[in-house]
């Protein structure tokens, strides 16, 4: 569904990605693992077109995205939940939820979203999106892209800095949307969490993908993974 070949990205003079290759099949949950600065978030931003300069090939359902603007990438059916969550303080919670335009049929309805995230329903009248707790903001950031009908979701560290009970809720959400046929590319620092939701794991280092480990072989590759991640 998503096929990335020899992806290179730059921020000004700094060359961040040095030829990233990987692919994601339809219906899969795939993670990018790696240490801080390995290029995971930059890979996500590069797919969306949110970096100043990129080269290589990003094919989505067979169509080349490398030269498209971020709004065109989004319209092709990819949605991002960024690491910084990007909840808007000048918008109410409901306005935040309704902000991304629906780009295709098949997204979750508001009722379905409120069933998945009951907290959001309670907080729907909150005047400023940024008044929500960190966990609620994260749920809002995921919820708003489930509405859009995009079936390929990029989730950048959705569990970062959150309490275990909320991490579990996000885990349940990812498994639920996988069941509904969504495809997920997930950036994670926490591979124990990643192991509970993902089919495959790509390991990144120094702006490249250096290994791929299927989830069912994770236990056998623990030593290698510890070495990669330096944990």
């Amino acid at each position: 569904m998503l096929e990335i070949k020899n992806l290179n990205s730059w921020y000004g003079e700094s060359h961040i990605l040095h030829g990233v290759d990987f692919n994601v099949q339809e219906g899969e949950v795939v993670t990018l693992l790696g240490r801080n600065g390995a290029g995971k978030t930059t890979t996500m931003k590069s797919i969306m077109g949110l970096v100043p300069r990129r080269e290589g090939s990003i094919k989505f359902k067979g169509a080349e995205l490398i030269n498209l603007m971020p709004n065109q990438v989004a319209r092709s059916g990819i949605a991002i939940c960024p690491e910084e969550r990007a909840i808007f303080g000048s918008l109410t919670v409901t306005e935040n939820l309704m902000l991304p335009p629906v780009i295709a049929p098949g997204g979750l309805s508001i009722d379905e979203i409120y069933t998945l995230f009951p907290n959001l329903k309670e907080r729907a009248r909150t005047a400023q999106g940024t008044r929500l707790s960190g966990g609620e903001q994260q749920m809002l950031a995921i919820a708003r892209i489930l509405r859009t009908g995009s079936k390929m979701l990029l989730l950048d560290e959705p569990t970062e800095g959150l309490a275990p009970v909320i991490v579990q809720q996000i885990g349940r959400t990812i498994r639920e949307i996988k069941k509904r046929g969504f495809t997920v590319l997930l950036v994670e620092q926490n591979f124990r969490f990643a192991a509970t939701v993902a089919d495959r794991h790509y390991v990144m280092e120094h702006g490249k993908v250096i290994d791929m480990i299927p989830n069912d072989q994770l236990a056998a590759n623990m030593d290698k993974l510890h070495e990669y991640l330096g944990v």
């Binding site: 949110l50 971020p70 709004n71 989004a74 306005e95 309704m98 902000l99 991304p100 335009p101």
Partner: protein, 295 residues
């Protein structure tokens, strides 16, 4: 005759009304500036020239095409708005990646060019624009006579300001604008065509200026310098209200108009200065303006 604070009541109320009229222009113009600044991060120095173009457009519509005041209230903002759209698309949009200072210099230059062209074509003496028949005359309010046209200007300006505020604060389109003001790349990554949104925001701000120009045509004489004299005060209003604040620019616009009017009653010599005095005081005590958000 009734006296208030040692001043004849009709004089006092007359100046308050004049203040409200000036305030209406301040509010409409600073509103457009605030909307444009919020989205483009550009201080639109061409705003006064575009206000003048609005007045000229209504004058031309009347004298060349025979289209009267009320249709011009819609047509002139539309025409000048399209002109603004072309300006943004062809010239201003090239500067977004540079320092804000370049946008300021560019729009300042555009103002000089536009005003120069109109001075060449029409001279600087100014041309009259007749108040439409329906709004001729004055109404006795009991405490004073109010010229109907002036009451109309205040009324319409308040309605347009409130409508603009409602669009920005209460509609889905406004939510997109506010979100793009906060974090444009993210809004674009949701599939919103942000460059187009920016173009239409600029055109909208320009249309507001042109609308104010049409309202002003029967009051001020239609001349190439009419924007320049107004815009200096409008920039002070924007600074006092707080850059980018919608309600702030409306309230400050009307408020300062009234303060200016009242100063004319009690200390006429200071009336041209009082706005700038307020600006100094506000900048010293609240550098972000009365309604500006803290960083």
């Amino acid at each position: 005759m009734m006296m208030i604070l040692g001043v004849p009541a009709p004089l006092l109320f007359g100046q308050v009304l004049l203040g409200l009229i000036n305030g209406a222009f301040y509010a409409l113009l600073s509103l457009g500036l605030a909307v444009i600044f919020g989205m483009l991060n550009i201080i639109n120095f061409a705003h006064g020239a575009l206000f003048m173009m609005g007045a000229f457009c209504s004058w031309m519509l009347l004298n060349y095409v025979g289209i009267g005041y009320f249709p011009a209230l819609f047509l002139a903002p539309l025409i000048i708005g399209i002109f603004g759209l072309v300006l943004e698309k062809t010239i201003i949009s090239r500067l977004y990646k540079l320092d804000h200072l370049y946008g300021l210099l560019l729009t300042f230059g555009m103002a000089l060019v536009i005003e120069g062209l109109f001075r060449n074509a029409y001279g600087s003496s100014g041309m009259p624009y007749r108040i439409p028949d329906m709004l001729q005359g004055a109404t006795n309010l009991g405490f004073m006579y109010m010229p109907n046209y002036r009451g109309w200007v205040v009324l319409v300006a308040v309605i347009v300001c409130l409508a603009t505020w409602a669009i920005i604060e209460k509609t889905p389109l406004g939510a997109k604008l506010r979100a793009a003001t906060e974090n444009a790349p993210m809004v674009q990554a949701f599939g919103v065509n942000v460059p187009r949104l920016i173009t239409f925001t600029y055109a909208g701000g320009v249309a507001l200026a042109a609308f104010a120009g049409v309202l002003a045509a029967p009051i001020l004489s239609v001349n190439p310098n009419m924007g320049t004299s107004l815009i200096t005060t409008v920039f002070a209003v924007v600074v006092i209200g707080g850059m980018g604040s919608i309600m702030g620019s409306v309230v400050t616009g009307f408020g300062l108009g009234v303060i200016e009017g009242l100063t004319k009653v009690f200390w006429p010599e200071a009336s041209a200065t009082v706005v700038f005095l307020v600006m100094v005081i506000v900048l010293l005590t609240r550098p972000r303006g009365l309604f500006g958000k803290s960083a």
